[in-house]
Amino acid sequence: MTVILFVDDDTDLLGLNTFMLKNIGYETVTATNGEEAVIKFRESVPDITIMDIKMPKMDGFDAFFKMKKIKEDAKIILISAYAVDEKKLLKAKSMGLLEMISKPYDFEEIENIIKKYTQS
């Protein structure tokens, strides 16, 4: 069963997304900030991680870099609300960032991306 780590500081959005993912048959792990995300990543070793960039304590990019250190081929997708740090984005892309999607997104988009990277 595919395990998805969903990270967002907006608990409503987080709750809604996990509800949807569970409905279509995925197992979800959640975190509300970067630090927590890294810990959950280490514990649960998810098949794919979907993470918001703007978060308290540790942002999505930093969490991404840590996760990549833990597992080099980790599959991670970042979500942004608006302009992002271009340097960090380039660095993340070079380190194998799968996709970046913008808020507000269609849930279908998430679903497709998960399918795309977990079926192989």
């Binding site: 959005l13 709750g15 409905n23 279908e108």
Partner: protein, 616 residues
């Protein structure tokens, strides 16, 4: 007009007044002195005249004693009898007595004893007065025959002489003083009638008084007076100078101003060239039965000698005036210098201040009055400096606030974009969820999706509200309001979680404020407190108090505190430590509070917001 000129002119006027007054007083004194000197001289002259007359009278009286002497009377009596006898013998022969006969008779009638007595008298006077008093003394019988000759030369018969006849008739003859060639001296002839005890005419005593002797006392007095620079003259009734203290000889010339000598006493001024003499005189009035010679004593005194002391004073006055003028100028210049210097300093200060140089060092002045002005300037400059600095700060603060606001609005736009995207995402995902369950709303959907969507919409509304509150500063509508009712209505607008107890003030205060805006403040602060307490049990305490200048409202909570490093930043727009905060709440509070002229501060441990309302 310069102050210095006024001072110099003022001092000069004072000096002129002083000098003029002094001169007037001096002139009055001069006149007084003149008058006094003249009066004194008149007194002296009249005293001298009086003494002179008395002296002569005394001499005459002295000689009168001789006429009372029995020896003299007896001798004359004898001579008279002899004469009668002889006249009887000669009656028939020759009435014209020739010279020879006369000589014969003289030899006959001369009484040696009497002659010797007269000589003794002369000797006596000489011894007493140490000079010749009498130049001539002789006695005639009732027929004019010389019967005793003490000193001098005398004719045998005197009855043909005028003086003898006057003496016989009137008892006393005083002749004019005249130069006597025989005695080489000035003499005053005096005739005294000799009477017997019954008053019958016996004969005549003739004395020629030495004028020099008579003048002796006067001379002595004159010498003393001449030391006082007074010249004493004695002139006779026709104006001849009998004697003057100027020279020793007698009767040397006519007195020039004799015409002015008129009356018993008097004075006049006599100006010759530049010299003025004060002339005072006294006319002889005699003494008792001595009628006097009709002579005059004149005292002359130079004006300069009277005014000698005064003229010194006058010179001193002139010197004082000159020195005074000099001093006035010097003092004037000094005052000018000091005052101008001080005024210049003050002007400098004023110029610097007017140019805005408030750091100009104000030098102290040595004049208290100027120091007062300088002190005022000093105070003024400090006040103006403070005012300017305050203004500057205010302007800076306002600019900073404006910049901050503009910056904040800029940031706000982007922040709002992000913050709205989250709730938008929630709604979108929610709609997706509903779409997928198109057959109907399952209980699951109702539970998981709808509340989240509602919350997302509320969040968006709240965020928009916050931004609007921050961006748009509307004028405040101030009214007197009950603080307690504002607090209460604020609490009603918020859903207070059950885990939190809220305490409201026991005592109400009335404040002038915009009720709705202050409610926003309380809502924000209470919401903050609720969020700080979170899910735990906690308290929010709202209290009011007063000190002497402020009404104070405090909102305290025992939730999670504010980190010390954030204390200064919490009122900054967009500063937030919360996941879902806009960072505008406290900025809005601060804006509203400041719009009211109040102040808001924060304390930590426990967290307490303090609103200070200045009392009216």
């Amino acid at each position: 007009m310069k102050i210095s000129h006024i001072i110099i002119i003022g001092l000069a006027i004072l000096l002129v007044i002083y000098t003029v007054t002094s001169f007037i007083i001096l002139e009055i004194n001069i006149n007084e002195m003149k008058k006094t000197a003249i009066e004194r001289n008149v007194t002296i002259a009249s005293t001298l005249m009086h003494d002179f007359d008395r002296f002569i009278k005394k001499r005459i009286d002295d000689f009168k004693q001789i006429t009372y002497s029995m020896e003299v009377q007896n001798a004359i009596q004898k001579s008279n009898e002899l004469f009668q006898k002889r006249m009887g013998q000669n009656n028939n022969s020759n009435s014209n007595i020739n010279q020879e006969t006369q000589l014969e008779i003289l030899a006959h009638v001369e009484d040696n004893q009497l002659t010797n007595e007269l000589k003794d008298i002369i000797e006596f006077y000489k011894n007493v007065y140490e000079h010749s008093v009498i130049d001539e003394i002789f006695i005639t019988n009732q027929h004019g025959e010389n019967i005793a000759l003490g000193i001098g030369i005398s004719d045998l018969r005197q009855d043909d002489e005028n003086w003898w006849q006057i003496t016989k008739r009137e008892g006393l003859f005083i002749g004019k003083p005249s130069y006597n060639d025989n005695y080489k001296t000035h003499t005053i002839p005096i005739g005294l009638r000799i009477n017997d005890s019954a008053g019958n005419f016996l004969g005549v005593l003739r004395i020629s008084l030495n004028l020099a002797d008579i003048l002796n006392d006067l001379k002595a007095d004159s010498k003393i007076l001449s030391n006082e620079k007074k010249t004493v003259y004695i002139i006779d009734e026709i104006g001849n100078i009998v004697y003057s203290s100027k020279r020793n000889d007698l009767f040397y010339e006519k007195y020039n101003e004799f015409e002015a000598v008129n009356g018993i006493i008097g004075s006049f001024e006599n100006t010759v060239g530049e010299k003025t003499k004060f002339v005072t005189f006294a006319t002889s009035t005699g003494f008792l039965d001595f009628p006097g010679f009709g002579w005059h004593i004149i005292i002359e005194q130079d004006e300069s000698s009277i005014l000698e002391d005064i003229s010194n004073v006058r010179n001193e006055l002139v010197i004082i005036t000159i020195v005074g003028v000099g001093m006035v100028i010097v003092i004037g210049l000094f005052i000018t210098y000091f005052i101008s210097k001080s005024l210049e300093d003050i002007t400098n200060v004023a110029t610097h201040l007017s140019k805005g140089d408030f750091n100009y060092t104000i030098k102290p002045s040595r004049f208290a009055e100027f120091q007062v002005i300088l002190n005022s300037f000093k105070k003024a400059s400090v006040s103006i400096k403070q005012l300017i600095e305050t203004e500057k700060e205010l302007a800076e603060t306002q600019t900073r606030a404006k910049n901050e606001r503009l910056l904040a609005i800029g940031e706000l736009s982007s922040s709002l974009a992000h913050d709205l995207k989250n709730p938008l995402s929630v709604i979108k995902t929610g709609i997706d969820a509903i779409k997928r369950n198109s057959e109907g709303t399952t209980p699951e959907i109702q539970k998981e999706v709808f509340p989240r969507m509602e919350r997302a919409i509320r969040r968006m509304a709240h965020q928009i509200e916050d931004v609007l509150n921050y961006v748009r500063i509307t004028p405040i509508n101030v009214k007197d309001n009950s603080m307690l009712s504002i607090i209460k209505s604020s609490i009603e607008l918020i859903k207070i979680p059950e885990n939190i107890k809220i305490e409201i003030p026991k005592e109400d205060i009335t404040v002038s404020c915009d009720k709705e805006k202050i409610e926003i403040v309380f809502i924000n602060l209470i919401l903050n407190a609720i969020q700080a307490i979170g899910d735990k049990a906690g308290n929010i305490i709202i209290s009011t108090s007063k000190n002497h200048i402020h009404d104070i409202i405090e909102i305290q909570d025992d939730g999670e505190g504010i980190a010390e490093e954030n204390m200064k930043k919490i009122f900054t727009p967009l500063f937030t430590t919360k996941m879902k905060g806009t960072g505008l709440g406290l900025s809005i509070c601060k804006n509203i509070i400041e719009q009211h002229g109040w102040s808001i501060d924060v304390q930590i441990n426990p967290t307490r917001f303090i609103i200070k309302i200045p009392q009216k």
